[in-house]
């Protein structure tokens, strides 16, 4: 099969699925709609696998397939094609998207069974997959941007899927507009690159950028990448634009799993990895990314500790984990970033779907304070969720361990890193262990606090199947990237497969030195140890001694409240940006438009009328007056003419 045809199948399949379900959106059968949508994604998955196999068969240096559907926009020197590029990076990415996406579609069949608008739901999901593929495969920043905005749109639609609820509709809007702020910056970033390099093709930019390597703040590469990074903070929910993601949990849970955990939110990370030569040319940007990343890790994790909504906890956890990825990018460890992106896709999708299963079982109850002891009702869900828990904790041997450890190590070791980055990262890991264990404890373990009227039940096989597959991936997914130090002591000395696969994509960090194995072991031990202790404390506290927790939180109430209310960032944004802006708009409308500009118009009109009434007052019908005007006029005229 030709590459073009394969690409067409890959892209068109979800699009056709979208159209089919879109046009038959009045049908209510979840099975039919779901199967159509799932098959569409599965076909794409097969195509993605075929692409991957094809790349496998190529020489490592020449692994890239470009399919160009022709020109899109062509104005003078600006030339943008509908070009789609499959290379080791994007091939993995599309595998994740279609693979995890397919599982989530399958899960949705069960989860959305009772929803009236199920065809619409699946249409949106397919639409999302289509746009995500475009984002990942686009060979120029503009094509990428098509997908970039497209996934935002799909996200908007899916978050607001139950739009009759005002809160949910608002959440969708918030997501879109927040993303738009990032997108505006993204546009500026594109313009900077276009004006400086005359192209927006990613490959060309990657080739050209290193020539301008710079250390200033106002250089082309620095400014351009900074603006792109602002775009990335929008899409990937980093400080300061992360606020939309927790609200996005208003959407159906599988949506959260697919879009707000596994795929879309990683787009920002993907963008940076995609353009890593350009970012490497701008060390200042890298520094900013690392700092923002690690701050996000800590901030989100701390909020996660206090949240009571199962999905909110996971949402903040996602923000926090995305922070790790950015931290990795910021220190130049792009492979590690991608590695974590992948493992996170597995275990976070797993946990979201697991939470979906819990919510489903609890009849739409999301408050973990009303759960507890679900282990016995939901054995499969518990088991699979636990795999995810172990993975995110960084339990040695589970996938999260390898990727998170690599990030932490690189943040110390890389010439772009710093010990403080490591320290904050490790702190984040400790907090992660705490809140995830808390989540497990409150949900599945301990005594049941389930209200009497709810009878939790295990989900149907169609929902469990994806859980199991993702659980397996969460466990074994890490073995594609075994760190060197561990590989050295294992039998057979396995290589870091992922690093090898991405070797031609990811530029090495300039000035990196040989790793100090002892140091690496030490740091690994410290972070794992901290996480273990923290998880243990959380376990004891939340399974057995909840009163202690209660009294403790009461003691530090102000702090607790502040964290519980997410540091009041939303209130800050509303109070100091959005509401003033709305008030300002009302005022400029009232004062500038109505009271000033229109007034001026009326004033001009009144002036005319005033002149008219003056004339009219002279026009008194009195003959003598008229004669006087004539006489006066005559005298004035004569005076004027004769005196000059």
């Amino acid at each position: 099969m030709s590459q073009t045809a394969l690409m067409s199948i890959l892209l068109a399949s979800p699009l056709i699925g979208f159209l089919i379900n879109g046009f038959r959106r009045k049908h209510h059968s979840a099975n039919v709609s779901g199967i159509i949508a799932s098959v569409a994604v599965f076909i794409s998955f097969v195509a993605a696998v075929l692409f991957w196999l094809e790349l496998q068969g190529m020489a490592p240096e020449s692994r890239s397939i470009l399919v160009n559907y022709g020109s899109w926009m062509n104005v003078e020197s600006l030339s943008i094609n509908f070009g789609f590029l499959v290379d080791p990076l994007s091939s993995l990415m599309i595998l994740i998207i279609t693979g995890v996406g397919f599982l989530i579609h399958v899960f949705s069949i069960g989860y959305m069974h009772h929803d009236k608008n199920v065809a619409k739901y699946f249409a949106y999901l397919n639409f999302f997959i289509f746009n995500m593929l475009i984002l990942v495969l686009g060979d120029s920043l503009v094509t990428l941007f098509v997908g970039w905005e497209g996934v935002g749109l799909a996200s908007y639609l899916l978050i607001g899927f139950w739009f009759t609820d005002k809160e949910k509709a608002s959440a969708g809007m918030k997501a879109f507009i927040t993303n738009r702020i990032g997108d505006a910056a993204f546009l500026i970033g594109m313009f900077i690159f276009f004006v400086s390099f005359g192209t927006l093709n990613i490959q060309e930019l990657n080739a050209l950028a290193p020539t301008v390597a710079e250390s200033t703040w106002l250089g082309v590469a620095t400014l351009g990448t900074l603006f792109l990074f602002i775009g990335a903070t929008g899409k990937s929910a980093q400080i300061p634009l992360y606020v939309w993601l927790p609200d996005a949990m208003a959407g159906p849970t599988p949506v959260s799993a697919l879009i707000h955990a596994a795929t879309m939110v990683t787009a920002g990370v993907y963008l940076i990895i995609r353009m890593n030569p350009v970012f490497l040319a701008a060390p200042n940007t890298m520094m900013v990314i690392a700092i923002i990343g690690v701050l996000t890790v800590v901030l989100a994790a701390s909020i996660g500790i206090t949240q009571n909504d199962i999905k909110k906890v996971l949402a903040y956890s996602t923000v926090s984990q995305l922070g790790y990825m950015f931290l990795a990018c910021g220190v130049g460890a792009f492979t590690a970033a991608f590695f974590h992106l992948m493992t996170h896709a597995f275990f976070k999708a797993l946990m979201f779907l697991g939470s979906g299963s819990v919510i489903h079982a609890m009849h739409e109850e999301q408050d973990i304070r009303k759960m507890g002891g679900l282990k016995k009702y939901l054995p499969w869900t518990h088991l699979t969720f636990m795999m995810g828990w172990l993975a995110i904790l960084g339990t040695p041997g589970f996938s999260g361990f390898f990727s998170k450890d690599e990030i932490l190590w690189m943040s110390w070791h890389s010439p772009l890193g710093h010990w403080s980055l490591w320290a904050l990262g490790a702190l984040g890991a400790t907090m992660t262990a705490f809140y995830m264990t808390r989540l497990m404890a409150l949900t599945f373990w301990g005594k049941s606090r389930v209200p009497k009227e709810i009878h939790p039940h295990e989900s149907s096989p169609i929902m469990l199947f994806p859980l199991v597959v993702l659980a397996i991936l969460s466990v074994v997914g890490g073995y594609v990237g075994i760190p060197h130090v561990i590989g050295a002591i294992l039998p057979g000395h396995p290589e870091n497969i992922l690093a090898g696969w991405l070797g031609n994509i990811v530029k090495p960090i300039p000035g990196i030195t040989e790793a100090d194995a002892a140091m690496e072991w030490t740091l690994m031990g410290v972070s794992v140890g901290l996480a273990t202790i923290s998880a243990f404390i959380a376990y004891t506290l939340y399974v057995n001694k909840q009163e202690a927790v209660q009294s403790f939180t009461n003691k530090i109430k102000p702090v607790y409240e502040l964290v519980y209310k997410k540091y009041l960032v939303d209130e800050l944004y509303f109070g100091y940006i959005i509401n003033p802006l709305v008030r300002l708009s009302e005022n400029i409308w009232a004062y500038i438009d109505v009271r000033f500009i229109d007034r001026c118009t009326y004033w001009a009109g009144d002036l005319m009328k005033g002149g008219g009434s003056f004339v009219r007052s002279l026009q008194n019908g009195n003959l003598q007056s008229y004669a006087m005007y004539i006489g006066l006029g005559l005298v004035l005229t004569l005076t004027f003419v004769m005196m000059r």
Binding site: R25, S71, W72, M73, N74, V75, E76, S77, L78, V142, F145, V146, E149, G150, L153, Y156, G160, F163, T164, D165, K166, A169, S170, G172, M173, F176, I177, R180, I181, D183, A184, A185, L187, I188, M190, F191, I192, F194, V195, L581, V582, L584, S585, E586, I588, W589, I592, D593, I597, D598, T601
Partner: protein
């Protein structure tokens, strides 16, 4: 003859309608006429040469010998799509007026066809006086359309519209006459031929506001700025839009505003190259202010139609800054955005008209939850909203992207400010969308006595072409851009020695 046919066919239609005996045949006849007109417009595709900036389909006859005033129609890449847009919208507008215009149907269609004529004439005229005649003529039918078939404050709105617009254009008339004397000085014979105007080199002294080129430049620019409308001359627009009947709003937003921006490309930039360049900052600044200001004010409008009207101010701001940076992307994007705005805002007004026909209210706060009652309507509204906020693969994106790119090339700061419009645009449109379509059912929507009925076949027929155009223009912009490519290229490269020639001569 094709251009004369295009321009005057509507007058003929108007005459036939005026004299036709049966009243109930007016609407169908008007529809058929507008389709014929559209078809005639399509003939141009066949012979249009995209490779040249020269004038095509030229018709030139002496009109008033003494002043060198000619009947001179011609088409080039700049006017090509605007003409198509005008004829494309006509049948849709007539269909949209099917129910909303229930009284004086004959009069309405006569006004509408005369308006078509005037608008096409001002796009195609290459003689200053001929152009001015069409330009001013277009006011009269619009004046009647708003004044007779409009809302409760229609008289206020239509007078404001008329006087505002006329106040701008009379100074242009003086400038035109002055330039005719300049041609007399330069070539011995007075002429109002635009090609002769192009040949003039009008003295320009940058620091002197009263230098001749600057004064002429502002006389023209003011006329067009009011039409566009450029901040702070925009206040007639919201009133006119709100009071106009649906078809009136559509023509106004769809085509009439374009006359202003189009004329910047046709008249101002090539005629006064130095002044345009020297004073470009004012227009870029006002354009940027317009983008932000329009968007902010749109955000807080309680009336949905007024919201869209202010959004026009914002969108037209983009076009202005695109034109005044005077590079390929800016101009192409500006021209493209003219078409986009015609399509998307035209469609928005039609949609608002449809919902107004059902509920007789445009208060946003009275709506809510419309999406569950009128799902098909919602889909169309949403697609057009996407076009309006420039989501990629819709037409709006291509225009906005090209404009912003072009502006960034010339003035990064302006682009930086203008880009906030991308965010604000999404904010006001989606906020409105949320309040109207999502959430609990509002009082109007939940009214049991008047259940709302989703789109009928006629309404589908109106909306589908818009949606098709939204995507076709978003996905295949090159097919549109190529028609104006040569003309814009010529404009950019020869802006200080802009001398169009007639195809086939020399």
């Amino acid at each position: 003859m094709i251009l004369s046919t295009l321009v005057f066919l509507p007058v003929l239609f108007a005459l036939i309608l005026a004299l036709w005996p049966q009243k109930n045949m007016i609407r169908p006849m008007a529809l058929v006429f507008s389709l014929i007109h559209f078809a005639v417009g399509l003939i141009v595709f066949q012979d249009f040469d995209t490779s040249t900036a020269q004038l095509q389909f030229v018709e030139k006859h002496m009109w008033i010998e003494k002043f060198g005033i000619q009947y001179f129609l011609a088409m080039d890449g700049i006017s090509f799509w605007l003409v198509q847009l005008t004829t494309f919208l006509a049948p849709l507008i007539i269909l949209a007026s099917w129910n909303s215009i229930s009284e004086k149907v004959r009069g309405f269609h006569i006004c509408f066809f005369i308006l078509q004529s005037a608008m096409l004439g001002s796009f195609l005229a290459f003689d200053a006086i001929l152009f001015y005649v069409f330009w001013e003529l277009s006011l009269i039918p619009m004046y009647f359309i708003v004044g007779i078939w409009g809302g409760s404050r229609r008289i206020y709105a239509t007078l404001k519209f008329f006087i505002y617009t006329m106040a701008g254009s009379v100074l242009m008339l003086v400038a035109i006459i002055y330039m005719m004397y300049l041609t007399q000085q330069a070539f011995g014979q007075m002429s109002s031929n635009l090609l002769d105007f192009y040949k003039l080199s009008i003295p320009f002294i940058g620091s002197d506001f009263f230098s001749m080129q600057t004064l002429l430049f502002f006389a023209f620019a003011l006329a067009f700025a009011i039409k566009v409308p450029l901040f702070p001359l925009h206040t007639w627009l919201p009133d006119a839009h709100v009071e106009a009947p649906t078809p009136g709003s559509v023509v106004l937003a769809g085509v009439m505003l374009k006359m202003g921006t189009f004329c910047y490309m046709r008249w101002v930039l090539p005629l006064f190259p130095e002044a345009s360049e020297y004073w470009a900052w004012i227009f870029i600044m006002l354009g940027v202010i317009g983008i932000i200001y329009g968007a902010l004010v749109a955000m807080v409008q309680p009336d949905i139609k007024k919201l869209v009207a202010y959004s026009s101010v914002s969108h037209m701001g983009y076009i202005i800054i695109g034109l005044f940076v005077m590079n390929h992307q800016g101009l192409q994007g500006g021209l493209y955005q003219m078409l986009n705005h015609g399509i998307s805002t035209g469609a928005l007004f039609i949609l608002i008209g449809m919902i107004y026909e059902r509920t007789h209210s445009r208060e946003i706060s009275q709506y809510g939850g419309l999406a569950s009652v009128l799902p098909n309507f919602t889909i169309f509204f949403f697609i057009i909203t996407l076009s309006s906020i420039a989501v990629p693969l819709t037409n709006g994106f291509v225009g906005e992207f090209l404009i912003l790119l072009g502006v960034y090339k010339a003035s990064p700061w302006a682009a930086g400010f203008a880009v906030t419009g991308v965010v604000l645009g999404a904010a006001y449109m989606l906020w409105m969308f949320k309040r109207v379509f999502y959430g609990e059912k509002g009082p109007l929507v939940a009214d049991e006595k008047h259940p709302l009925i989703d789109l009928n076949v006629r309404e589908f027929v109106i909306l589908v072409p818009f949606v098709i155009m939204v995507f076709v223009m978003g996905i295949f912009p090159n097919h549109f851009l190529k028609y104006s490519e040569a003309s814009i290229d010529y404009l950019v490269k020869n802006k200080s020695s802009y001398q169009l020639t007639i195809k086939g001569e020399q």
